[in-house]
């Protein structure tokens, strides 16, 4: 159900990863994405999988939670894998002696794509599980700071993101409730033609939008009441600091990164 979506949620425990500077984690995550898409050889994938495993362990977040994060995306992973499997040109790969239209190249590409997606999702889950949305947006705001000199609204962007993330669980719950309430009035969202189904969404979307606007309005009033005037002159409860821990984490990651490059281009 909708309540099972865990992507973007924070898992409030204490671990080495939780205590890292969000900027360190964001930069490592970005480089990790680069590495994932650069990786070509089996060896470099092994290194990346190893790295991801290590991150999962250090985060102290139950492994179960990571798999839950994968669940909603599972269909996409399977779908892209299947597409690659059948649509890639190349040498035929017989299954039990029969040709079923699968190629060797297809199988390799499918495996690579699936691994990449899984690693990406786990990587982003690791980032959001260990970094509170406030810290995350703080990190993004600080990283983008140079852009604010040319008039880019970094603070506003960061604040919008953090509020959006905060309201994800509330809106999921709300959607669930509205769907149930309309079902109780005989609505069905899962039968009929595509046109019929699209039309059936109106009784769900209208109340959802109205409620989102009402919430936005009330939240704006509450924020104003608490003296919010934008980014200027704001201080933070936890000033983010780059410590020796961040340095150690960065060096450690760069070693993995170097490994991937080495295995791909030099080896």
């Amino acid at each position: 159900m909708l309540k099972d979506i865990t992507l973007g949620q924070y898992f409030p425990i204490d671990s080495f990863l939780h205590r890292l500077d969000p900027r360190t984690k964001i930069l490592i995550f970005i480089l990790d994405i680069v590495a994932i898409f650069m990786a070509q050889t089996v060896e470099s994938y092994v290194v990346l999988i190893l790295f991801t495993f290590l991150v999962m362990l250090i985060s102290k977040v139950p492994v179960k939670m990571y798999f839950k994060g994968l669940k909603p995306i599972l269909y996409i992973i399977v779908f892209t894998a299947l597409l690659n499997l059948f649509l890639t040109q190349g040498e035929d790969l017989p299954i039990f002696g029969y040709s079923v239209g699968i190629t060797v190249e297809g199988a390799i590409v499918a495996a690579k794509m699936a691994t990449r997606l899984v690693l990406l999702i786990i990587g982003s889950s690791a980032l959001t599980y260990t970094t509170s949305p406030m810290a995350l947006t703080d990190g993004i705001e600080k990283l983008l700071k140079p852009l604010s000199k040319i008039g880019f609204p970094t603070h506003e962007l960061a604040m919008m993101m953090s509020i959006a993330i905060k309201f994800i669980p509330t809106l999921i719950e709300e959607t669930d409730k509205i769907i149930k309430a309309q079902q109780a009035r005989g609505a069905s969202f899962d039968t009929g033609s595509i046109f019929k189904r699209a039309k059936a969404l109106i009784p769900m979307l209208v109340p959802l939008f109205i409620s989102a606007f009402r919430r936005a309005d009330e939240l704006a009033i509450a924020m104003e009441s608490r003296c919010y005037t934008g980014g200027d002159g704001r201080t933070r409860l936890k000033e983010i600091k780059f410590t020796h821990k961040d340095l150690a984490a960065t060096i450690c990651f760069l070693m993995f990164f170097a490994c991937v490059i080495f295995l791909d281009f030099i080896f």
Partner: protein
């Protein structure tokens, strides 16, 4: 502390002025008072509350917070810092994803140094008895707990006064009791000025002073005892009185001389026992 003088306000719907919401209203709330505001939906209570920290500005008359006119734009943020607001829906006033980060929101906006914010946040959370939940995600807390976090978020500004607009309307009896306990504690320990807008008569009965509003002005302004003894008037305004007050009053109306100046179960039982004794001695 809070003063409204000949306050006039109406909502503008773009085409024409629609009915006057606040009509020549006068109210003076002193430092350390706990004032409950009663009135049916649409009587102007919430509109009044929004005038106390400059969210709305009077169309006529003036509102003063600690002697500062809310129309003085320069002083707007000084005023907002002195008047903490708590609203009805706890989900729509919590900004952050972790309890302590939410409580820190106002002090952060005020530009207070980190170490001082830490202290204020911890103090505020201890006052509302939510300190051990400081690392929790607000959406997993109960309604009463969320509302206490919202109160902590307001008092972390170290305001002189706190205005609450139906903070218990969406809570169950346990949540309501938690919030009322917190309010009484704020008043006793911090000598906080509290304005509580509510629909619940038992909550209003705990206040020092009850203000009853109807149609944009104040109808009664007195101690809870004197207000609730006017049973007929309150009923005609679409309000309730505590059950015990209503019982004593209706007995009185039937010709039994029970003292109906009662607010609690004990007081009412005393009054009935007194009456029983008086009959017996009369026999």
């Amino acid at each position: 502390m809070l003063k409204a003088e000949n306050l006039l306000y109406s909502y503008d719907n773009g085409v024409k002025k629609v009915d006057t919401v606040l009509d020549n209203l006068n109210l003076n709330i002193k430092k350390g008072e706990f004032v409950a505001v009663l009135g049916h939906n649409g009587c102007g209570k919430s509109t009044l509350a929004k005038h106390f920290n400059g969210l709305l500005l009077p169309l006529g008359g003036d509102v003063y917070v600690q002697g500062i006119n809310t129309k003085d734009e320069e002083m707007l943020w000084t005023i907002r810092r002195q008047v903490g607001m708590v609203f009805q829906n706890p989900d729509n006033q919590i900004v952050a994803n972790v309890v302590e980060e939410d409580v820190a929101f106002a002090p952060e906006n005020l530009g207070i140094p980190s170490a001082e914010i830490r202290k204020r946040v911890d103090d505020a959370l201890k006052t509302v008895d939510m300190y051990r939940y400081r690392k929790h995600a607000p959406h997993l807390l109960s309604g009463g707990q969320k509302q206490r976090v919202a109160i902590a978020g307001a008092i972390a500004m170290r305001p002189e006064c706190i205005v609450m607009d139906e903070p218990t309307a969406m809570l169950d009896p346990m949540g309501r009791a938690e919030v009322m306990e917190t309010i009484l504690k704020l008043k006793a320990q911090e000598n906080m000025t509290v304005v509580l807008i509510t629909h619940y008569m038992d909550e209003a009965a705990m206040a020092d002073r009850v203000v009853v509003m109807d149609d944009g002005h104040i109808v009664v302004d007195d101690t809870p005892r004197n207000v609730f003894s006017q049973v007929e008037l309150l009923k005609s305004l679409g309000l309730d009185v505590p059950q015990v007050t209503e019982l004593a009053y209706s007995l009185n109306k039937e010709g039994f001389d029970v003292n109906y100046d009662v607010l609690t179960v004990t007081e009412c039982a005393d009054a009935i026992m007194d009456y029983v004794r008086s009959i017996k001695s009369g026999n």
